[in-house]
């Protein structure tokens, strides 16, 4: 019931053809502006056209060919959109509205609100790079992406970059890490983990981990929806709707890669290397930790390099909150985090400006003590990416 004392404001508005952005931050600005906020999963427009000038030789020619292809309606001949949307074109009747790609200007406008202290930029376009069949082409794309991102996004207040590597070409991946690690705005190595075959713990990839460890650069795994990849694990071959593929794709991939890395003994071999998982939600974390522990009891002799049980390695992994599952009760998120022992490793992530991005209200509605909220909204990410609080 409204009381007479309450102020009234009326505004004529128009329907939004793009998802609403950033009002979520305005809504919580009082509460958040005093805190250090790090958004650990932010995407800017990195469609292939931006990479043309960074390609050389026959790959430049090839990129020109790609850019001439006419995939109607998809911006910049987007690799990921072409693949994603051909399979399920129109299946959601354009609901929610199409995500807009964020330009550098959009990003800066969001930062200028003074609420977010750091945005960590992750690839959009190159997230499928892990399953491109040609290692040289994949590596050339990663090299072009990294140089473009550094040129376009360095020296911006609060903006940091995760370089991407093509795991199917470990030597080129290690060279990328060597090339960019010293740059003050490069804060992580992103391994797009979908479609990586064999799984990422395989010995063939160890040069990537060695390079990251050498430069003390944390590794972030970032998934992508299933796209056309047919059976990695439980994808198009198994489900016929994007919703099912999307729901299972991210967490199954993450569980598979965590299992692969831990069982290969990589945390033992590279003890200082930090890992994070992004865009896979949180609820499966207890499952993979304690499921592996149960099996470890019987099969430990298969993994003689491990010095402690799997959950004791996995609890050190950082994890981004996006896509935050809607748990039924306000106290449930803390219970979940305690189950996977994640008070020091859970990091708020929005996935801005993608369709499925989390508005901060989704996180703020869960009850938790202030100290934990501060950790998740920023302090844990400062730790993971090696950043100092901004003044």
């Amino acid at each position: 019931m409204a009381t007479d004392k309450q102020s009234v404001r009326v505004q004529r508005v128009e329907p939004s053809f793009n998802p609403v952005q950033d009002e979520d931050l305005d809504q919580y600005s009082d509460e958040l502006s005093e805190l250090t906020i790090v958004d650990v999963d932010v995407h800017v427009d990195d469609t292939l056209m931006f990479m043309l000038d960074y390609m050389e030789g026959h790959f430049r020619k090839r990129m020109e060919t790609v850019l001439q292809a006419d995939f109607k309606g998809e911006p910049g001949n987007s690799l990921r959109n072409m693949i994603a949307h051909i399979a399920w074109l129109g299946s959601s009747y354009d609901k929610p509205p199409r995500a807009k790609l964020a330009t550098q200007k959009d990003l800066l406008a969001r930062m200028e609100k003074g609420i977010i202290d750091y945005s960590i930029l992750f690839p959009s376009e190159l997230l499928p790079v892990g399953y491109l069949p040609e290692p040289e082409w994949a590596a050339a794309l990663a090299t072009a992406y990294n140089q473009y991102m550094v040129d376009a996004y360095q020296n911006l207040d609060g903006v940091k970059i995760a370089i991407v590597v093509a795991p199917q070409h470990p030597d080129r991946a290690a060279a990328e890490i060597d090339r960019h690690a010293a740059h003050p705005d490069v804060v992580s190595v992103c391994i797009p983990d979908v479609g990586v075959n064999p799984p990422i713990g395989d010995e063939k990839y160890w040069p990537i981990f060695a390079a990251a460890a050498r430069h003390d650069l944390p590794i972030s795994f970032h998934g992508i929806e299933a796209l056309i990849h047919d059976n990695y694990p439980l994808r198009v071959a198994h489900f016929h709707t994007l919703m099912q593929v999307n729901s299972m794709g991210f967490p199954f991939t993450s569980m598979l890669q965590i299992m692969s890395v831990v069982c290969a003994g990589i945390p033992v071999r590279f003890p200082n290397l930090k890992f994070a998982i992004l865009e896979a939600g949180l609820t499966w974390m207890p499952f993979i930790m304690y499921r592996l522990d149960a099996a470890y009891l019987r099969y430990r002799t298969e993994l003689p390099a491990l010095e402690k049980k799997p959950s004791e390695y996995i609890r050190d992994w950082y994890i981004g909150t996006h896509e935050l599952e809607a748990l039924p009760r306000r106290g449930d998120l803390v219970k979940l985090i305690d189950l996977y022992q994640g008070r020091d490793t859970t990091m708020w992530a929005s996935d801005w400006p993608h369709l499925e991005r989390d508005l901060i209200a989704g996180f703020m509605r869960y009850d938790m003590d202030d100290a934990l909220r501060r950790k998740i909204l920023g302090e844990n990410a400062l730790q993971f990416f090696g950043l100092k609080p901004r003044p």
Binding site: A2, R9, Q11, P15, Y93, P97
Partner: protein
């Protein structure tokens, strides 16, 4: 944007809030009304006015900015065939696309209904009753 003076209280404890003159609120238009910290979305759909709680229960996106379109339904009435229905009456959240029936506030596919408010037209003014 208009800022309204508080109208005289008419009901015992219900307040009528002037949203706009009828002339300024034609079919197809919508208004976002903030009363204190609450947000209410008011729509004119084909000459009928509807008011709904204005923030999506998912992650609080402003429902006043949602598009109105149709949606797919599949139930005993359709013989369990998928059909396109409710054209122009399905409010799509501009956050992540939850859908609400603009006339009732009922969410499609969820056991959930948005609060609705009475809207009256008096003296050529569209008023929200709270």
């Amino acid at each position: 944007m208009t800022s309204e003076k508080e109208p005289a209280r008419t009901g015992a404890s219900r307040r009528k809030i002037t949203v706009a003159a009828v002339d300024c609120f034609p079919p197809g238009a919508r208004m976002e009304v903030r009363v204190g910290s609450a947000m209410i979305a008011v729509f004119n759909v084909g000459g009928d006015y509807y008011a709904l709680y204005g923030r999506c229960p998912h992650q609080s996106a402003p429902l006043s900015r949602g598009r109105l379109q149709g949606t797919v339904i599949c139930n005993a009435d359709t013989g369990w065939k998928t059909e396109w229905a409710h054209e122009g009456e399905v409010l799509v959240c501009p956050g992540h696309g939850m859908e609400y029936h603009v006339r009732t506030g009922k969410a499609f596919g969820y056991n959930l209904k948005l609060r609705t408010y009475e809207v009256v037209v008096e003296d050529g003014q569209v008023k929200l009753v709270m």
